[in-house]
């Protein structure tokens, strides 16, 4: 675990009150700037003195980045909306219950009151070697301390590892992928609406980042289309401590069925790779199939194809197989 070394290093604090001002500041300071949303991830980095940004841009004062509003095609959630607001929003509860469930399972009530949905999807990995400030691949070095014969890798990746085996710890990310959400990102070239699954990147593309946000970029909101509203949802999070903890794994699915036949489906898992994985192969395989234990069983086996266990995380393979099975067939059928 990271050791609290000292008070935070000195930095210049900016508290813009508009998106335009925030964007100007971020572009002006580039890689010298750290974006502060709820601060729950960022404060660790600062207090541990692992990151020493010259500038911190606190988004807490930007009202236009807060709140949930219905649009002609779904809802738009400001990136600075707290997780508790997401979990308690009646429209989200009624139409996108999977996101309610995911947000409710993030950490503790105190953290959900402070943490934002933008921060939850953009947070850094929890790999302790990385967060302890060791010069691993993700920190720009040339080794993965977790992927060694004696590395503590119980929580690490079983899929898509490429030198780095850290995993993405977000709970809301797989739910947003299942809902086919779009992440609205301000870049120096303008605004882009990016598919939720494409917001996240693995070490094969860039080993030092977990999402597409580069210096100067800003996630402003998340749009959820009505396509999957009031579908049949499933969200499950497995963690060491049920009171509050990061996920060992979570799964989210949205299913449209006719009778007992799966017409359409989106399913995603997280904490198995450096980015949440949408299981397209599984979706294709179960589309048109009856929603029962047999289909879930086959889907579970398909989902873990290519999984490579590490020294201490082999349990994640049957865990993922069973979570995918339950996400498709439901708990009772799976049992």
């Amino acid at each position: 675990m990271a050791i609290i070394r000292d008070v935070m290093p000195a930095f210049q604090l900016y508290q813009p009150t508009s998106v335009a001002d925030a964007q100007t500041l971020l572009q002006q300071h580039g890689s010298d700037a750290l974006v502060l949303a709820g601060g729950l991830d960022s404060m660790d980095w600062l207090k541990d003195r692992i990151r020493k940004p010259k500038v911190v841009v606190d988004l807490g004062g930007i009202e236009e980045m807060k709140g949930i509003r219905e649009t002609s095609d779904g809802v738009q959630i400001g990136a600075m909306t707290t997780l508790i607001e997401v979990a308690q929003n009646p429209v989200v509860q009624q139409k996108y219950r999977i996101l309610t469930q995911a947000a409710e399972l993030v950490a503790s009530p105190q953290i959900r009151n402070q943490g934002t949905i933008g921060g939850n999807v953009s947070q850094d990995t929890r790999c302790w070697y990385y967060r302890a400030g060791w010069p691993c691949y993700r920190a720009g070095g040339n080794i993965c301390y977790a992927d060694t014969p004696v590395g503590r890798n119980r929580e690490h990746a079983i899929l898509d590892a490429d030198r780095c085996i850290a995993v993405n710890p977000s709970d809301t990310a797989p739910a947003l992928i299942a809902l086919d959400a779009k992440f609205v990102v301000l870049t120096p070239k303008g605004e882009q609406a990016i598919d939720a699954e494409d917001y996240f990147i693995g070490p094969d593309l860039d080993i030092t980042r977990m999402n597409i946000l580069r210096p100067g970029y800003l996630l402003t909101s998340i749009r959820i289309p009505s396509t999957w509203a009031t579908s049949e949802f499933y969200f499950e999070k497995v963690r060491d401590r049920n009171v509050w903890d990061f996920p060992l794994m979570n799964v989210a699915s949205a299913i449209k069925s006719s009778g007992n036949t799966i017409q359409n489906i989106r399913i995603a898992v997280n904490a198995v790779a450096a980015r949440p994985l949408r299981l397209k192969v599984v979706e294709d395989a179960v589309r048109g199939k009856p929603r029962n234990a047999a289909t879930g069983e086959a889907a579970g086996k398909l989902a873990v194809q290519g999984a490579v266990p590490l020294q201490f995380n082999a349990y994640k393979i049957p865990l993922m197989r069973n979570l995918v099975k339950r996400a498709i067939s439901g708990v009772q059928e799976a049992a």
Partner: protein, 282 residues
């Protein structure tokens, strides 16, 4: 300005982790400056090359129209190595300048191809070709000294014509060989740090300092190869060098070019009767 990136190991040791990536741009700019300066020199200042007349031999008179220069095997090796080298350079350095793709797998596959092709080349050149033809000898250095003196305006005897390869070509081969061996040896070791089909990962093979030095050497040789590749491609497409480049494709060069640049007593084209009308020999 730091040419190397350093980090603190978990044991509290300050270790190098890789070269500073701005060296990529230094290598590219160095290569481009060289070719610009050389192109200006050739365009405006260079004089017609003068050589001491080589002795006319009976073999010279009996030369075929096309002089065999590179065997099919040698040409295949060259182009496979070139393809692997370009793949290695692009997969290594494009991600560092912002072009993101899944580069590691392509990189070690290209590295494996390069390694195998180099192993083939060592065996082929040692047992089937004239091994010493690419290594500088005393005559090369003596002629090089004469050319340098004449270039500087001092009086010196005319240099002899080249053997099969000019001194510059031999020196270039030596530098590329050295850089290539460095990237291959360090690259093979570095493959123990990623998942490949060849051997299980073993990040404990060396100490942090040794690993760091290995990454630094790999990087330095790698950026060096950027410059060397730029220079090589530049010379390959220079008009006066095109017959040499073409010989790496078709295997032979014209008798006129051979007699103009090469000394038949230093590069003896043997078995002429067998090669007459063909272009496949060495």
């Amino acid at each position: 300005m730091n040419f190397l990136e350093w980090a603190m190991s978990p044991l509290g040791q300050r270790v190098p982790i890789h070269i500073a990536w701005f060296l990529i741009w230094v290598a590219i700019i160095a290569g481009l400056i060289f070719l610009i300066v050389h192109a200006i020199y050739v365009r405006y200042f260079v004089k017609e090359a003068e050589f001491a007349s080589s002795p006319s031999t009976s073999e010279t008179l009996d030369l075929p129209a096309r002089i065999p220069r590179h065997s099919l095997a040698a040409r295949l090796f060259h182009w496979i190595m070139a393809g692997a080298m370009f793949a290695l350079l692009f997969t290594a350095f494009l991600p560092k300048v912002g072009v993101q793709f899944n580069w590691v797998t392509y990189h070690w596959i290209a590295g494996t191809v390069l390694t195998l092709s180099i192993l083939f080349h060592i065996v082929h050149a040692t047992f089937y070709l004239d091994f010493w033809s690419i290594w500088p000898d005393r005559s090369d250095f003596e002629d090089g000294r004469r050319r340098l003196q004449r270039f500087l305006g001092k009086s010196a005897p005319l240099p002899r014509k080249f053997a099969k390869y000019p001194l510059e070509n031999k020196l270039y081969h030596g530098v590329v060989m050295l850089s290539g061996l460095v990237v291959i040896v360090t690259g093979i070791c570095m493959m123990f740090r990623v998942r490949t089909i060849f051997f299980p990962r073993n990040p404990y093979l060396f100490s942090d300092m040794t690993w760091g030095m290995m990454y630094v050497l790999h990087g330095l040789a790698g950026v060096g190869l950027i410059t060397l590749t730029i220079v090589h491609v530049y010379f390959a497409i220079r008009p006066e060098k095109l017959p040499i480049t073409a010989s790496m494709i078709v295997g032979s060069m014209s008798r006129e070019f051979y007699l103009k640049e090469h000394d038949p007593t230093r590069w003896i084209v043997d078995n002429l009767s067998q090669h007459r009308g063909t272009a496949d020999g060495d």
